[in-house]
């Protein structure tokens, strides 16, 4: 039983279930086929959709390669690395946002809003565009297909808000999420299936914007995560940023401070930096060339691998700190590992390979394509969820401890980090004041002692408690982290039998109301898109009809009665005029009129054809 059984109607698109690696830099989809996961790619392409969006002056946003191509030409309207904004607030991203060529603000719910051409977009809406484009690419690669549902991967160290935001993005893209799976876990799955590797494995996953390390035990098809650690704001982007800094420093004498902050300059510098980074993985030095005629700039500068490595060394150190913590939590020494697998494009950087080899005391496994393993693993997990195989079992963990703020601002931990999911904890609470009808909670995620230093996932208020003396209420609050790593909270008041209501206000998430509005806007836009297509179709039809009339002008002039001739000429002129507008109704009525007025001519021509046929002429000769 798998996706194949869904394909029952001939000619109807096949409903496929795919795995999607929604990356900071690139996104990619894979599908389970013939007992193994394969990347969905069209002939001669990589299948990779760059996670880039461009908002052109008119029409729908461009996503992927097309958008990427606009980066230098239209830097102000080209968005990169949207994933780093998912589920985050403005204050947390302050340093990251410096130098971005567009305006970002925060709405009253703490959700970021990016302004593009007079419209605002939240990170989930932007990610939805990338997800949609990735699905479209996958469907095009497959042939006649539509995505029924998908497994979507996220960094293991994503917190609840970031996971929720990813799920919201999928919903806005109209994709049913089968499961949210952690990227290193998905990678381990692809590794285990491909290499038939067993034992204790470390997955070091350094992507474009995020870093994860997971320690797993793989045994008889059971992939069990022992511990995970990471940094959701550390990746190849930061390597690029170091080179951008180098470029800016090099140009400090030549360009004004204003020019150095110019969006076009920054975008060009960013792209040059990325190119330089990639080149330095194979060459000991690279010449950065920046040509910006508008700024009168034609600049060449040599960057050596040594220089680059010195710059990024502290960042690599940070990844190794995470590794140390993960190993400690797993209770594993480097010598006890059977394999270290490198995942993510940024692990191509030689310094990363050297330092991981040094840290783990063994050469890392680099045989798998670091850009593809996550999507492949996600497709394998999709196959499990569809009931296609029971040979694989993923046992994942929650990356961060979950707790509640107590009186005085400390954190009372309910679920420890690296607890296997799904997991549930039920805590009892009571009232402090006579007749108290509600209790306030602040749910926090993180490892720090004080709530203010952790991430607040949301506040909720337990309401509807019946009047009781202080301390009499017995409220059981259940925190459940599901197999997606997502938290749900439920509560019950025991003595009165009254079910207390819970309303969680997410700190940096879309409310249900926001979602409804956006989904509705999506439908409205879908209507608009449909109209636009209809207008284009009608214009094309009118064009064909005008051509046909022109072609048969002689026949019309000779054979039509004057009234019909005038009707046809007038209708053709009106239809021609209507094509200048984009008004659907106007074009539609003009087309209908034109069609009506051309009937006499059609009759004349038909008559001619019939006569011709009788005279032994072929249709072509008429």
């Amino acid at each position: 039983m798998g996706y194949i059984e869904l394909d029952v109607l001939d000619g109807a698109p096949r409903r496929i279930v795919i795995g999607i690696d929604l990356g900071t830099t690139n996104s990619l989809a894979a599908l389970w086929e013939d007992d193994r996961p394969v990347i969905l790619r069209q002939e001669g392409t990589t299948g990779i959709v760059p996670s880039v969006i461009n908002f052109p002056g008119e029409g729908t946003p461009l996503v992927g390669k097309q958008a990427r191509a606009q980066a230098v030409v239209d830097p102000q309207h080209t968005l990169f690395s949207v994933k780093r904004l998912l589920g985050r607030g403005l204050a947390e991203l302050r340093s990251e946002l410096q130098g971005l060529p567009y305006a970002i603000s925060e709405n009253e719910n703490g959700v970021l809003e990016i302004e593009m051409r007079g419209q605002t977009y939240t990170p989930p809406e932007l990610s939805a565009l990338i997800l949609r484009a990735t699905c479209d690419e996958a469907c095009a690669a497959f042939g006649n297909a539509e995505v029924a549902s998908a497994v979507i991967t996220v960094p293991a160290y994503f917190d609840d808000a970031q996971r929720q935001a990813t799920r919201d993005a999928a919903r806005l893209a109209g994709i049913e999420v089968l499961r949210i799976v952690n990227e290193p876990t998905a990678a381990s799955l692809a590794y285990g299936l491909d290499q038939k590797g067993e034992g204790t494995v470390a997955i070091y996953d350094l992507g474009g914007g995020t870093f994860d390390v997971s320690i797993l035990s793989i045994e008889e098809g059971v992939f069990r995560v022992l511990a995970t650690n990471g940094d959701t704001q550390l990746g190849g982007d930061d390597f690029d940023r170091e080179i951008v800094e180098l470029i800016r420093e090099g140009l400090a004498g030549e360009l004004s401070a204003e020019d150095l902050a110019d969006p076009a300059f920054l975008q060009a510098a960013r792209l040059a930096a990325e190119k330089c980074k990639i080149a330095l993985s194979s060459d000991p030095r690279h010449e950065v060339h920046l040509s910006l005629p508008d700024l009168g700039l034609n600049w060449r500068h040599r960057v050596t691998r040594e220089e680059f490595e010195e710059r990024i060394s502290p960042l690599v150190d940070r990844t190794l700190d995470c590794c140390r913590r993960a190993m400690a939590d797993a209770g594993i020494k480097p010598s006890e590992l059977d394999e270290v697998v490198l995942v993510g494009g940024s692990t191509r950087v030689p310094l990363v390979r050297a330092r991981t080899e040094e840290f783990f005391g063994r050469p890392p496994h680099t045989e798998l394509n670091p850009d593809e393993v996550v999507a492949l693993g996600a497709a394998a997990q999709a196959q499990v969820l569809m009931g296609g195989t029971r040979d694989i079992l993923l046992m994942d963990v929650t990356p961060l401890s979950l707790g509640l703020e107590t009186v005085g601002g400390a954190v009372s931990k309910l679920i420890e980090r690296n607890s296997t999911v799904p997991c549930s904890v039920t805590e009892g609470f009571t009232t402090y004041v006579d007749g108290q009808s509600g209790i306030d909670f602040n749910i926090v995620q993180g490892e720090r002692e004080m709530a203010a230093d952790c991430r607040s996932l949301g506040r909720f208020k337990l309401t509807g408690l019946p009047p009781m003396p202080a301390g009499m209420a017995r409220v059981a609050v259940c925190f459940h982290i599901d197999a997606n790593g997502l938290l749900t909270v439920t509560a019950k008041e025991d003595t009165s039998g009254v079910r207390a209501e819970i309303e969680v206000l997410p700190s940096h998430g879309l409310s249900e109301e926001d979602m409804e509005t956006m989904l509705q806007a999506g439908f409205d836009n879908a209507g608009e898109d449909f109209d636009r297509r209809r207008v284009a179709d009608l214009k094309a039809e009118i064009g064909t009809m005008l051509l046909a009339v022109k072609k048969n002008q002689t026949a019309a002039d000779e054979k039509l009665d004057p009234e019909s001739h005038k009707d046809l000429t007038d209708a053709a002129a009106r239809a021609n005029k209507a094509c200048e507008s984009d008004d659907l109704d106007e074009i539609r009525s003009a087309r209908d009129e034109f069609e009506q007025a051309s009937l006499p001519l059609a009759a004349v021509l038909m008559d001619h054809v019939v006569k011709g046929a009788i005279q032994g002429k072929s249709l072509d000769e008429v």
């Binding site: 045994e219 079992l393 993923l394 799904p422 549930s424 904890v425 459940h480």
Partner: protein
Amino acid sequence: MSACPDCGAALQTPLVCEGCGALQTTQDNPSPFEVLGLVRGWTVDRAELGRNLLRLTRLTHPDFHEAHGEEARDLAERNTALVNSAYSTLNDDVLRAEWLLADMGAPSPDEERQMPQQFLMEVLEWNEVLEEVRVGGTEQDDHRRLEGLRTDLQAQRAMSLSQLGQRLQAAEPGDPQTLRQELNTVRYLDRTLNELDELALEKSSTRGD
């Protein structure tokens, strides 16, 4: 032992029938020993515990019930959460001891905060060493002190745990309050060992190791 309502096989765990794979609905919270099909007591066979965890998870995990409708999925979530929580309780010496103490009605750590008298002198000594390292000496000195302290604490922890374990495994475990105080010792040692790890990590990263 109850039987599976679907196939009649005897249930080894209240969560799922290992005969036909039917997920079971439990009313009360079953004990972690019941959940994992083990005999209640301090001594736990780790290999058996691990085997039972995997065997049960292969039946209960939501991944295998995704296609079976919302109700089955919710039950799978719930039952797997119970398996996971039971496993983490039994696999951890301190949590297992805590569960056994609570089950025999011993005071909670909040109700009884004391540690045995004879232990306090050693605590003072250890705190002194920790303070020295915090202030910081040469790299070798700090390292030597930290490792020495770690060895001492681990030895003491092993001894305290083994004593507590023997009592808990005995037919007559004795006074619950004494047991609580002994378990407090182990918890104190764990906290201090954690602090030690943090300190070592801090030392190595400030030195740019």
